[in-house]
Symmetry: D4
Subunit: 232 residues, 8 copies
């Protein structure tokens, strides 16, 4: 059986860590916690942090049990309990501005994952929650904030209509995140996903169901490269 | 082979006409034109009309070729070219008020079928078109009309978000009609159908894709049974 | 991070309560219990009830554990164990009449949710259960009751045929509720949903799988606005 | 390239004819006309007929163009224009009784294919058409005929509810045939197919969408093996 | 709320028992155990048995826990542990012969449910298991038994190919039962279901995934009505 | 029937033109040509152009017949025959840089629509075609160009793998466009769509199948807001 | 817009020809004819042939119109009318042996494409057609040939059962090709595809629906690398 | 009930063991552990091993609990904890060379099952893991090893792009294994499965989701029949 490990790679047996990736791309290291034991998450976080203590490490999809162990064993770790995510190490300077908009309270975990990810990837982030399409006054009330962002992340489950409404109000790049919130003919988020892909508002792009992380990475890349604005 | 025909039924060979149904339910006779030849549609319309000249007959999904023949051979027939539908005989007195709201210009045929059907089934009908969710000012501008109807029919293709937005504004019974307008991941109207079934606005019910007829029947039954209002 | 709370809104952290919505729409407050802890449900119910003790509050999809806590801590709460729902505060005067028809005993929870919802939303409600299409005599026996309602809610799983049969008997507005009762090629209620959307009986509209709540809201809005009838 | 042809097999190049199959199984020869040219259908029919002129040959899914050529060139051929099928040679003695029930006039071609197939495979056949579930009186009127058959074939498109209603009336073996009649969320007959597979009436079995032929074969095998009845 | 109970119906609160159905159709009473508590199953079985002790009652989809309680509390109950089913009361005289053929050992529960059901519904039953299409010698070895049956039930999961192979060997009516045995692209039995619906062997009909009960009812109705054979 | 037209809106009967939208959002006017007659496209283009001759108008999904009429009747119109699109009026100054990458020659029309749209919406655009994942040297050869763009549009049909490969090379915001190129289990682009939504490369977002227009709008909004770069 | 062409690449505008690929991989050049005009196919074939006249070029999915033009303008071209394919230039020496087995006559075009492709890619090829699973004697009759091949290609539509039966007879590597032959619940070949993916015979792999070309490439690569056999 | 057991077959009640199969095909015996109790797995392994102690037996999909019991009770058993598989008895001599390539660490179990299976079926095996398409340098680094194999097994979840990239580098027969790694629109591995079936690299064949076993059998059959190579 063949397997070598070169420079900048550490092999923990259950995971190969490319400890030089951040140097190449400017992005932080990320640990996808799903399917990993609490002890593995702790060890990976510690290894990545010790290699580059000057940079942030992000762990997503961290169970409550794993979060407890991380906080207990890694003193500098910061838990975001809504996002089910942990960061370790100093966050980068915020450049540009991402605004995360979430339709319902059940969408909060995905929105929080998107927000934390965008922040760890180097963007400034604001969040507005509970802005459902059946309450237009809430949406209209934040119209200025929507227009002032460099990139929008719009999170919604069920019928996934919020991106179309927001996308009709402003011309800002908009990443839509369907969530699995719903039941029956929601089919685990499929209804929201299809709705967002068929948005009548031009300039809406979509990521996978519940993929707050992916939306956060995308939006941070847009925002941190944006031309500076006058203060709003 | 066994087949008898009783009272109030006429057998044209390719169709059995239950000429007493209207007497039983108070609804008009309807000819579903899809899959029938122009000559068959003309003959069915004529037979139904001659049996009960005092009532309206409705033919839906009438091709252009069939429409031409109907208009040529049945002098009293009235063609609705947008709805691809024909009526013959006097329309009933309008009771109550149905408002049909359509998202885009491509949804017009389905909206027109719904409107004409509701009218033939005995309701008063108004139509507002081109009210997409990416143009909220159009929706907000008709808020009074929405609230004043006895039943709403909301027609939309693509992401099918309009019923959620309208349903969040008013508490009027709302029947949503998904249309097959769209492409790619619209999957022939499936995206809009799923979105409407998952609407976060309570009190939204849904009919089959492109089924303006069914929505019209439903809404007319609600409206014509509604308590009279003060003039708005 | 941005979040403000205006007039008529209470923020419990895990939920924002729009305590003035009922005043705007005439509908009761509703707590969707799925995904909330028993303690959260109790707190939301108490808050809404204290704000408007003269109106009913409804909590749906309440687990047995949550129901126990609610009944223990909120003396006035009334549990409907079949509907998995709780009400608190006086029910509104009943206007009009909704009839809920359920196909099988397994459909009873959805039917009960629909019935309770319609009642809390202001309609009078009757229920007939165990009226499967493979026992036509049961259906024919209640034909008079079907015809006398202002709106019908027809609940069925498996092949979802009941709305077509009922819809062929009477001309009353009919909202069909597919349930997830079934197995194999029922695909979690998809078979019943598709059947109902394709009903050959005109004037049938459909809500999401297991969405007794949505059907109840819709039917109540139709019934409470219906013209008064002579006593049947 | 390897290909041999043994006894009882004729190779026409575009088709291999197993001219002894009927001798082995007692079933007639069948030509599936879809995808074959009119000339090919004529040649296959002639070859099969000349080999066993004492038995019937059946050709299904015959286009109008092919039917014209068959009738012109094969004098003994009998066309069933509704079934889009042709027979050549004497039909077998009828044993047992198959009853074909069809929901709507658009289902007639599939019902006719089922009826003709069952007859050619050796059963006696009756047909009752236009028996939709939204007109229960039509179904109840033929209850005696239903109960008197050895096997029922129930043909329906759209919501496919008829087999459940019929299956609840009688304990006769029932083969359901979903048809592609419908639009939108019928998805080419999928809705009817799923409904029939989930029938709440026990003892309902199902064949492919529009597969009148398969239902006819199955029902004939049941009926011609049934114990003789007293005349009804 | 409306609910009456007439003659021949007992209402246990959680179930309405139509205790005269067997008298009308000649079929036994059946309890579908899924979703019922052990105590409910015991009570329903006891009630049905006491009403008609001279007839068999069948309970299907009985959990191990429920089976234990039934056997403990109802002395005459007979458990079929493979079929997860229980019978109570004397089985009817066997008429005709059903042969159940199962592809793999994992299909045994569905095959056993089909076999027991057919027996309780009045047919004689044989079973042949472990006859996969990848072992043709096993199938060919039972060819005589296949040809001698009045109705075949063929049970298979995964690719569902067995009905096509068996249906090509004999002209006996064949009911195919897809099972949920498989993983990945089996999609819970969908692959087997679609394969069986598309069988190239004519005269194959299909029931729902894992529906051994439905196949047993159907096959018993065919077999018990079959003309008597000479002993094979 | 209700319909008014306010300021800045022209109603052509078959279309309502919001001639002031560009002023509000800075985006050009766009005519979606699918489903419109050649004469309608010409009239809409002319009307929009005459209202704001200083701005570009874009017509997409223009058939060959319509393109001929447009070029004949509108002298200033410029046809992009690969994109099936037409522009009229001066293009805006190009800000930032969008790079469109297409996998195969069959993807060229969608790539061209994306490129033209991005240009009309104000970005500079380059295109690299025929960069399939089965020819990695082609991708690696353009690595510098990929890294130098402000936003990437990656167009691919069949297995839709290209965005993952490109997204692994550079940290530039990447919009993936699945195309309907393929057959069989491509299911009209569904395979590519699902692949892109599940990309292992973070920061990939997706638009509807064949939606080059949407990708172009999105990318232009990102690019024209990007901070200026040093010349590469 | 960026596009360069390097050594060994010819750009015809509508296609880039990598004329050195065969030298790198040992495989022939292939033209995928779908979506290309007859004139384009002729020009591509001519260009590839003139560059390497000593090697074969293959064009697949060639329409009848294109085939006529190719044969007229390229004297050395050889048309396979069943496979809808053309070759130009000398075929390579045959190494190893591929056996193509097809279930029905309608599967012949896909089988012929697979056979021709395997031959052009360097393998010896035999074909056996009309070997349906409902005629086991045909399969058993060719058992020796099956066992003697280096790789099997098994082509089937409808229920796709043939690979399981063949795979149970011999231990030869087996590539299954589902075809779109069928109707209704075949869903364009999906039923056969799923059946083959779930084959109970180990060692069956699958290609896309109707993808005879892919199967031919795969099988040729296996066969031409196989250890030589003693003559059978 | 009919069931006999002939020569070379042992019946354990819950399983029939064909103990002579290996002699017929040269393949090892295999126990599919899913759905079997630990005790059953131990007994089957022991029985097969005692019958042919000179050959290897393989058990796949063995739970941790079953693995513990096997190791405890069968001293010679060797556990592969990553593959969740056990072997008992001497492995055969390795002929030819299979290379297993896995995209991510989560794909390791499926890759290990494929590798162990190929080895037990008689091929030499190497494994390269963590070769995602978003890290092309890892793929390019093993290009020589890829080209030197007799058959490749490429394992990937999520977007399933790796087979296309690998298949574009070398002309070796390639079996792709989609895994269920992913979430949301991965739909349990469907996204990867569809991507692999639509690979633009010719000569890619596919097995069921997570079916490492099937890929291993297939690849071993190819490799052990391959012509010997010069040492690389």
């Amino acid at each position: 059986m063949t397997e070598q490990v070169g420079d900048g790679v550490k092999d923990l047996g259950y995971a190969r860590l490319d400890t030089d990736r951040a140097a190449r791309t400017g992005d932080p290291e990320v640990v996808y916690g799903a399917g990993k034991t609490p002890a593995q998450i702790v060890e990976i976080l510690r290894t990545l942090h010790e290699t580059h203590p000057e940079r942030a490490v992000l762990a997503t999809r961290v169970t409550e049990e794993a979060a407890d162990l991380v906080v207990e064993q890694l003193p500098g770790a910061v838990l975001d309990p809504v996002a089910h995510a942990v960061t370790l190490g100093p966050l980068p300077t915020a450049r540009g501005r991402v605004l995360v908009v979430a339709a319902g309270t059940s969408d909060a975990p995905v929105a929080a994952e998107a927000a934390l990810t965008a922040r760890v990837y180097g963007a400034g982030v604001d969040v507005v929650t509970d802005v459902g399409v059946s309450g237009l006054h809430r949406i209209l009330a934040v119209r200025e904030e929507l227009a002032g962002a460099d990139c929008l992340i719009v999170v919604a489950g069920m019928e996934g209509a919020l991106p179309s409404v927001v996308g009709g109000l402003v011309g800002v790049p908009l990443v839509a995140v369907p969530t699995s919130v719903g039941y029956g003919a929601s089919f685990g988020g499929l209804a929201a996903l299809l709705a967002m892909l068929n948005s009548c508002a031009p300039g809406v792009s979509v990521v996978n169901i519940d993929n707050g992380f992916g939306a956060g990475v995308f939006a941070a890349r847009v925002a941190r490269n944006a031309a500076p604005r006058d203060p709003a």
